[in-house]
Symmetry: C2
Subunit: 723 residues, 2 copies
């Protein structure tokens, strides 16, 4: 690929990015799009300006960039939690290391590559990009020590940065554990595979076991029930609610948000008041029946509650029974993370399901190999004209030639397989174990051009896509056009760590592997990371809410993958030094690989355990502090209700026949549950509950939706009866 | 290799074995060799006949075979512990599976191979052994389904047998844990990397930590001291004792063996009485000094004692501190297994030492490749005559030809590298990942002859060697000839699991991989396993003592390696079916591999945890039983003294100035310590202690040794002072 083609591609992408970012800076200021671009703020009650005569809102401005830049880490931690901070630290780490890498490689490696062979150089823009790669060096070149030295500098810098980051994040994680409000999950152990005794229920077996062996610390437990009945009931109820909702959009009762006692977050009260007052008698009768049915359908799983965090930790870590397939214990997930349907699966099936998932994932990966190989071929122009003979005429034109070879293949790749790591295209060329370094060394520089354009299309474009949120925007517009209703209910999204961290890691891998081989990619990558920093920060602050908080557990993944990238880089360089017949450079690379492995092992010993286990010392101290302040007893009282499969008010009303406001005590720590949709409170409550149960993310956009229902209660339950 | 050559080799080996076994049956009856062939019995006080006119002792007899055969598993368990039972169960498993394999392969696979190509067969003994391998089949043969079916039968039988064995051994292990006498190690946790505080000693830091966080279950602790001083003192004392011993062999005081209170084993009393009465005053003064010095030299490691087994288990399994490199906890080893010198190593060095060991082992393995490749070449006669031109004349003679090709190469291999697994010779032919099955398939049958002779030389000969104990015998004879002293002190050996289990596994691997490919090896292997059963059983009953007891932990290693062998067999067969162009057989082999992997995973979930962790339920029940019977308090009192780096009597006399018989209370659970050498009691005691400390096996044979010393005490300590 010529430099001109590369620059064409870069130009196209930069223009697209500028246009999209400008468009974003306008669109975000339109009140109609607030629910797309400020989902998080709306939930958290951030102020927003709504002035129809404020015409500046049609002018692009970089104010959001400034704001994203200025937000400090502490503000981010307070607003979005530790995971968001850790994610942005990954981006910052990438910026730092690739800044160092770019400086070293462009200042020293690039000139060595460029003047690697004695020949007449064309004008820069007519040069092939391969002139800048290590391939341009002649065999046995004495200048390979520059590459070797650069490799040492990059590895040392990366290891140092990784070490300090790991240390800081480990401290942050400990701070997160100690400073966080008491969580019910810390006191709870999920027990699976309770043995079956024909003469007693699972619940009795469990309580006998724990009162026998853990009498000093066992509090109580909450069984898991077969969710068939509950599931069906909830599904029907939701359907009825929705149908009622669309019939009569008159009455609306806004919920008032008051802080929850337990988690400190806001909770809904008024709406549920109305409901429980209205549907009291019928529901009481109906759900009494439900309770009887479900207790008969106990599953061999339960949440067991303990007096202190330390007790729960001990029970979860110790092998309970002499049959390892019985009394399997694990620390419980947070109540709103419980995936009830999974708890129905017998424990003895779990391992085989995990294996099936793994096999499926591997098979799926290999299916991708076929189209990837085809697209890889497109980067070679001859192969392209061979594949599509009708293109031959067009391809002779210079500009089109540049566009096609520089841009098209990666666009096709993106369109077809947005998430396929291009690493895999190397898989099918491996046939010899000993030649892997050499084969990689041959493959990487020839694909350097492709990787660069991949950085443009997948990297830059994905960032623009991320900030524009095109799907949400279109959905919002379409819904506005179709529906006449102007209500502002909306659903917020959670940050897609599962796609964004791998993307970051992939670009890190591309950066490291290309660094000494084809350093031309580095400036473009640096632009990507810098843009990523601003855009992700903006999105985390404005768009996404934090539902699941791992407490920084993503960092070890990032750390290990970065070490892997470094070692792969070294192996590829080793292969290259072998190809170029430089024994000195090869000889110096091998100790570098060993040192990097040693560093990895050191970090694994020094930091990794904190990310997998809770330190006893810390938990005991927390327990004592809570006992001193008297918080502990308060907590113990709540535990049982928090892990309830059947919402608390249903239980209470069915057992006590009371019609008071039981919801005032039940916390809903998840802001997602607090969507201020009007009226249909029970449907919403049931939906929210079922949503947790199904464990799926609510990524559907229903920004403008239909509104409030009529009186629900007796009719709805009648309908359910008929079903 | 011709069948005749194979039979020649077998004949030579069988004759050698018969001669050696007959010789053994005579030698074992000679009173002079009792200490070689009945070491265990002498220690345990078994009766022995000593009649100089009993001339039958010069006639070979198979009585020992009968006795070994008749001993039941329960007797073996009582006599030699669970590890010995598990080892013999490995042998029995091998006999069973290879009996099934031999029946299936010789009845069905061998005829298919033999008549695989339409040609005129010579007389059997002139046939090449390759005629009986799968190589003899023609390409695309329809008879390959026989091999595939045989593979299914072998795998199914192996998995079934493995499953039932694993289940039985898991039960035995649980029985071993629950039924065994209370062990100090169950109540003790080894804490390493105690943090350093400048204002207080390690001991204070430790006791503050545990009284703070584990006040309810913490009993006391025992620090580890810098062993330089103690080590030197003990070394000097031993040297002085030895020199005194050889000077004056007059006085002897036989120790009387009385059962120990703690472990139920015998303990020495009289000898130590004499010593402590005599050397009282001087020692008290001297060792008071020692105590002061050592407390100043505390190391950041300690044995911490807890009230119950469960408490110790919890502390050992939980991550203690927020810095994973501090307060590292592990269940303590048994007191006599403690390797004191290792406890001096700072914990932060340990991981790097482990890595260095691994790297060293790998490097060492690769060094072996060179000679192994050379020896492998010898099996081909042409290469042999090419390597040694002067042999060309001799090689034309038929018998010598047979001996050399059939016998010599493996003898050379044995002589040079007794313990090198021949698997490694395959390592250097791998160059392509995808072709590994095919390459293995090509390599195995051509090496089948070599493997068969390897089975004769390494397998049968090693068994004969094992039972003859030539080194011990020669040492015994030489010592008898040189020394005029007729004393019968001796040292017993521990069973060499570390060499014998790998050998068993290696022959299992050879058996499985050759089963469907070259089944001719199977009868010879079966003879090996059968002989191994009798000989090992005899040796365990008569020769070896049990010092370290893992409680059946060797079984998971055997299980996993057997699964590996099965899968390797299947991969090799897959390669062969590929080479012979049988897609049906290949297609049916792949699900077999997956099923075997699934089986392995199932066993890993179902049984493996019991071999790595102690079940809480079991430990709590044991604790309660001991509390009920009142044993617990008695135990608690002993813990501190058992894990003492400085022997108890030294401590007592130095601190209290008492001259009573402190040894009466100190148990020596190791029969090895009870060698009835006369007189030099303190040297023996010190030696036994230092022996534990250095952790080396006492494999030196000192059957007839010099005898009793004069008065030791004041002189010895004087001598030490001068050093």
């Amino acid at each position: 690929m010529e430099i001109a083609a590369l620059l064409t591609s870069a130009g196209i992408n930069i223009s697209i990015c500028i246009v999209l970012l400008s468009l974003y800076s306008v669109l975000r200021k339109q009140p109609a799009n607030y629910c797309v671009y400020f989902g998080r703020r709306l939930v958290c009650g951030g102020a927003r300006r709504y002035d129809p005569f404020w015409y500046e809102r049609f002018v692009p401005s970089p104010s959001w960039l400034v704001k994203a830049w200025e937000t400090s880490e502490d503000e981010l931690l307070a607003a979005a939690g530790l995971d968001a901070v850790v994610f942005l630290r990954m981006v910052i780490f990438s910026i730092r290391i690739f800044f160092i890498t770019a400086v070293v490689c462009i200042a020293f490696v690039l000139p060595v590559n460029y003047y690697g062979q004695p020949r007449v150089h064309k004008e820069i823009h007519l040069e092939s990009s391969e002139v800048f790669t290590i391939e341009n060096l002649k065999e046995g070149s004495k200048w390979l020590w520059v590459h070797c030295l650069a490799l040492y500098i990059i590895t040392s810098a990366a290891c140092l940065l990784l070490y300090f980051e790991y240390r800081t994040i480990a401290k942050m994680r400990l701070g997160h554990i100690t400073s966080s409000a008491p969580k019910p999950s810390q006191f709870t152990v999920l027990i699976r595979a309770i043995p079956w005794h024909p003469e007693q229920s699972y619940s009795d077996t469990l309580s006998k076991y724990f009162t026998n062996y853990y009498s000093s610390c066992y509090l109580s437990h909450q069984m898991v029930y077969h969710n068939g009945i509950i599931q069906r009931l909830l599904h029907d109820a939701e359907r009825v609610c929705l149908s009622l909702k669309h019939v009569s959009p008159e009455i609306s009762c806004k919920p008032s948000l008051t802080p929850c006692n337990f988690c400190g977050g806001p909770t809904a009260t008024n709406s549920f008041h109305i409901l429980s007052n209205e549907g009291d008698s019928v529901k009481g009768m109906e759900l009494g029946e439900l309770t009887v049915t479900t207790t008969e359908q106990e599953r061999p799983a339960a949440f067991v509650f303990f007096k202190t965090r330390y007790d729960a930790l001990v029970v979860s870590e110790v092998l309970q029974s002499s049959n390892p397939m019985l009394w399997v214990s694990d620390l419980a997930p947070e109540p709103h993370d419980v995936y009830w349907r999974n708890l129905n699966i017998p424990y003895r099936q779990l391992w085989i399901r995990r294996i099936a998932t793994l096999v499926g994932a591997v098979a799926f990966m290999f299916v991708f190999l076929i189209p990837v190989t085809f697209i890889q071929g497109l980067t070679q122009l001859e192969q392209l004209s061979h594949a599509f003979p009708f293109l031959r005429g067009i391809l002779k034109k210079k500009f089109i030639n540049q566009v096609i070879t520089g841009y098209l293949p990666s666009v096709i790749l993106i369109l077809f397989f947005y998430a396929v790591p291009p690493m895999m295209m190397q898989l099918n060329v491996f046939s010899s174990v000993r030649d892997i370094p050499a084969q990689l060394a041959r493959a990487v520089p020839t694909q350097a051009g492709f990787f660069t354009t991949y950085c443009f299309t997948s990297g830059w474009a994905s960032l623009a896509c991320e900030i524009m949120q095109p799907m949400a925007l279109i959905w919002n517009l379409a819904a506005k056009a179709i529906s006449t209703n102007k209500d502002e209910s909306y659903e917020t999204l959670r940050f897609p760590y599962h796609t964004e961290i791998p993307r970051l890691l992939l670009f890190g891998l591309l950066g490291f592997t290309n660094s000494v081989i084809a350093p031309l990619i580095l400036p473009f990558l640096l632009i990507y990371f810098f843009l990523a920093y601003l855009i992700y920060k903006n999105q985390i602050l404005n768009v996404y809410i934090t539902k699941y908080e791992s407490g920084g557990k993503y960092w070890p993944i990032f750390h290990n993958t970065t070490i892997f990238s470094l070692i792969l880089t070294q192996i590829i360089a080793l292969g290259f030094f072998g190809l170029k017949l430089s024994t000195v450079a090869s000889g110096f690379t091998i100790p570098l690989i060993l040192l990097t492995l040693l560093f990895s092992e050191y970090c694994r010993h020094k930091f990794a355990p904190i990310f997998h286990k809770h330190p006893a010392q810390v938990l005991i101290d927390m327990d004592r502090a809570d006992e001193m302040t008297g918080k502990m007893e308060e907590l113990h009282k709540k535990l049982h209700s928090v892990y309830s499969q059947i919402p608390l008010h249903l239980q209470k009303s069915s057992s006590n026949g009371e019609s008071s406001t039981p919801f005032a005590n039940q916390e809903l720590p998840d802001p997602e549950k607090l969507k201020p949709e009007e009226g249909d409170a029970i449907a919403k409550e049931l939906w929210g509950f079922q949503g947790n149960e199904s464990g799926q993310e609510h990524d559907t956009k229903s920004c403008p939706s239909a509104s409030s229902p009529e009186h629900l209660t007796p009719k709805m339950i009648e309908l359910h009866k008929r079903n």
